[in-house]
């Protein structure tokens, strides 16, 4: 009988696993824990348990993961949105046991919800049913773009900061370095998560990820990849850049001011393995004949509105300023669907202007926030070839 790591709906563990848990608790030799100093000036927090409790293995600090999980589950389920979701991350920072318990719960909770909890969620698929709403802010002065998760429907509220990208020019070649740290945007940083590079004309882009998209992936040896001293936490993860997508723009040759055509092929992340084995396998099925997780997206063609004399797309109120940068992407090949067939009516990524330097980005599964952000950045990069 092994300890079940799945967290079941009913609060009470089965007798057999609990009696084993209790035997294990008694068998565990708990070292005496140094009690932290407690501030005597306040009545909060309540006094911590006495040192004698440690010897019996019966205290909060030696609580078994299964029991700890009962409490963690409740915290995770009730703190759905940011800023309250901070509490979930705080739990994961307390100690090793709490970290493992909380990470497992986040992994197992609501598959397909696309909830953003830890930085690693930025490279996990978005929600299956409805898009996540984000805001991109552009700062022209320092050529930097900031991605935020919207916490309110307003376009002026920023929300939770997710990623930043800075545009660098190397001669005729342009790169966007993408980072978790808004103040540290370099490839050698610990916060570096990937980059976008474009050709001279700004019509073909390649998206790179600092982490391998799947096991066995080899880092690319692009002209611009440099050696850098990697201060990585886990040396097992190979340093380098892994190609995860390509975006190309084609221009409408018949109508000079017509909308451009976008094609993206991206390696989408497959949902993380869950503790609960009974997951919906159709989502994890690899499309026949396609590379694992490969999605092909094309932009929806706007309709010409004769009366208004302009090209129109229905952005459902999420885009309010006309701009050639605005787009909606739908999949022709979608690895998250049975058979890999994309639904050309379902918008997986929508991007558009709502203010001088403010844009909305709405994305959903199988795209991750990172991929969505990188694709949106390409829209800024095609200025050279516009009209």
């Amino acid at each position: 009988m092994s300890f079940s790591s799945s967290f079941r709906k009913s609060s009470c563990l089965s007798r057999r696993s609990r009696s084993l848990a209790k035997t294990a608790a008694l068998a565990t030799v708990s070292p005496t824990v140094n009690q932290p100093e407690i501030s005597s000036s306040s009545s909060w927090p309540p006094p911590s348990p006495p040192a004698e409790a440690e010897e019996e293995g019966q205290s909060w600090s030696t609580m078994l993961p299964e029991l700890l999980g009962e409490i963690m589950e409740r915290v995770e389920a009730s703190e759905d949105q940011w800023p309250q979701r901070q509490n979930v991350v705080t739990c994961a920072c307390v100690c090793k046991k709490w970290r493992e318990a909380m990470r497992e719960i986040v992994r197992a909770s609501s598959p397909g919800s696309g909830k953003i909890t830890f930085p690693s969620c930025l490279k996990q698929p978005g929600p299956s049913d409805f898009p996540n709403h984000c805001i991109i802010k552009r700062c022209k002065k320092n050529s930097t773009f900031y991605l935020f998760l919207s916490l309110t429907p307003s376009f002026t509220d920023k929300g939770k900061f997710l990623l930043a990208a800075r545009r660098y020019r190397h001669g005729a070649h342009i790169e966007y370095i993408i980072s978790l740290d808004a103040d540290d945007l370099s490839q050698s940083s610990n916060a570096y998560v990937g980059k976008l590079s474009s050709d001279f004309l700004g019509t073909n882009f390649t998206i790179y990820d600092s982490q391998p998209p799947h096991s066995g992936a080899k880092p690319s040896s692009s002209r611009t990849s440099r050696r850098f001293a990697s201060k990585r936490i886990s040396p097992q993860v190979p340093a380098g850049n892994f190609e995860v997508g390509k975006v190309s723009y084609k221009f409408n040759l018949l109508k000079s001011r017509g909308p451009r055509r976008m094609v993206c092929s991206v390696k989408c992340p497959l949902p993380e393995e869950r503790a609960d084995k009974h997951l919906d396998d159709s989502k994890a099925k690899i499309a026949e004949g396609a590379a694992p997780g490969l999605a092909i997206l094309k932009n929806k063609a706007p309709r010409w509105h004769e009366h208004l004399q302009c090209w129109c797309l229905n952005f459902h109120g999420r885009v309010t300023v006309a701009s050639v940068k605005n787009f909606q992407l739908a999949a022709t090949v979608d690895p998250s669907q049975p058979g890999g067939k994309g639904d050309e009516e379902k918008v997986l990524l929508q991007f558009g202007k709502v203010g001088d330097d403010t844009f909305t980005m709405d994305y959903r599964s199988p795209l991750s926030p990172y991929l969505a952000f990188a694709i949106c950045l390409t829209s800024f990069g095609t200025k050279l070839a516009c009209e």
């Binding site: 007798r15 927090p45 348990p49 019966q58 915290v75 009730s78 100690c95 916490l151 929300g159 916060a191």
Partner: protein
Amino acid sequence: MLLSKNSALESKDNEIFEVEESIAIQSELIKTMTTMVNSKAYVNERNQMVPEARCRKQANYHVEQNNKIVDEELSDWESKFFEVDMDDLHELFMAANYLEIESLLNGVTKRVGDFIKACKNVEVIRQTFGINNDFAAQQEEEIRKLNSWNHI
């Protein structure tokens, strides 16, 4: 003549309680033993600490109250019941888990969850629960990153 069947329960510290059977079987553990043995069941709590007796008494009382009073009074009563220190809360939690009393377990986990949310930062949680920071030096960097990620 007994109006309702009573169960006699013995705790680790050899105290014997008599509780109404309908209340005793709120605990799944006792329910199982009762159906296996007889209506008069002796439960030997080998692994619980001394204050267990008090916990179980309170647990039964809680269940009894549950059956009697209306929602508003119940939630007031419940919040007072759970206003105990971390030590007692821990015992209540372990007792509720061992005895498989779902309603009590729900109440305790909610209370502990509320404590965690009220703590707001890692150090306060560690102090409240008496937990040591056992991250290795390598992991500390990752935790530092998580902490800066955790700000809006």
